[in-house]
C-alpha cells in the first residue's frame, strides 16, 4: 500500500451522524494533516497533528494519531450536508529544508440531508 492511504474509499451517511475516516502510512512522519476538497476545487487544510500528539480537536473535527500503528483517524461529528466532499490525509516526513506532503487517494464523503 502507498503512504497516506485512506479508508473507506467512499462513505455515505445521514445528516447528524458521525463520519469516521481512517488513514494509514508507512514511513516515520513529522506530522499528519487532513485536507478537504470540494468537487472541482482546491484542497483546504483542516487540521494538523504532530507526531508527538495523540489527539487533537477543532470544532466538530477530532483527529487521532497512533504512530505505533502508523494510522490516523478523522472524526466529523454531527455531520451536515455541507460536509459532503473528498477528504485526504497527507503525511509530512521531511528531513530536509522544507516539507513535502504525501497525499492519499482520498475518501469521498456524502452526507444525505
Amino acid at each position: 500500500s502507498q503512504q497516506g492511504e485512506e479508508d473507506p474509499q467512499a462513505l455515505s451517511i445521514q445528516e447528524g451522524e458521525n463520519a469516521t475516516m481512517n488513514c494509514s502510512y508507512k514511513t516515520s512522519i513529522n506530522n499528519l494533516q487532513w485536507y478537504r476538497q470540494n468537487s472541482g476545487r482546491g484542497l483546504v487544510h483542516l487540521i494538523l497533528i504532530r507526531s508527538n500528539e495523540r489527539e487533537k480537536h477543532s470544532g466538530r473535527l477530532r483527529v487521532t494519531l497512533d504512530t505505533s500503528k502508523k494510522s490516523s483517524s478523522l472524526l466529523i461529528t454531527a455531520s451536515r450536508a455541507a460536509d459532503t466532499a473528498s477528504y485526504f490525509c497527507a503525511t509530512d516526513a521531511a528531513t530536509g529544508a522544507n516539507s513535502k506532503l504525501t497525499f492519499g487517494k482520498g475518501i469521498t464523503l456524502s452526507v444525505r440531508p
Binding site: 513529522n30 484542497l43 529544508a97
Partner: protein, 114 residues
Amino acid sequence: EPEVTQTPSHQVTQMGQEVILRCVPISNHLYFYWYRQILGQKVEFLVSFYNNEISEKSEIFDDQFSVERPDGSNFTLKIRSTKLEDSAMYFCASSPTAVANVLTFGAGSRLTVL
C-alpha cells in the same frame, strides 16, 4: 482571507505543445509547490521551490517540466512538450514556513492534452 490564485482554470492543448500554468501565491509566503491530480487518483507532489530555486522534485518532474518565479509574485509551471498523460488538475500551493507547514492551495488548473 488571502488566497492562492491560479490561471487558467482550464486549458486544452494539443500533444507536443508547450503549456505554462500560472500561480500567484500568498504574498508573505516563502515556499511554493506544484502538485497534480490525475482524475480519480491521488494528489502527487511535483516540486517545491524556495529562495528562487528548486528545493525538491519528484520523479514525475522530469526535464519536460520547469518552474520559475519571474517577477517576485508569479510562480509558473511550464511543460515543454505535453503528452496525453500530462492531462490532470495542477495545483499550486504556498506556505509561510517549511517546518510543520500548512499549505494553502489554489483552486487548480485543469489541463487537457488531446
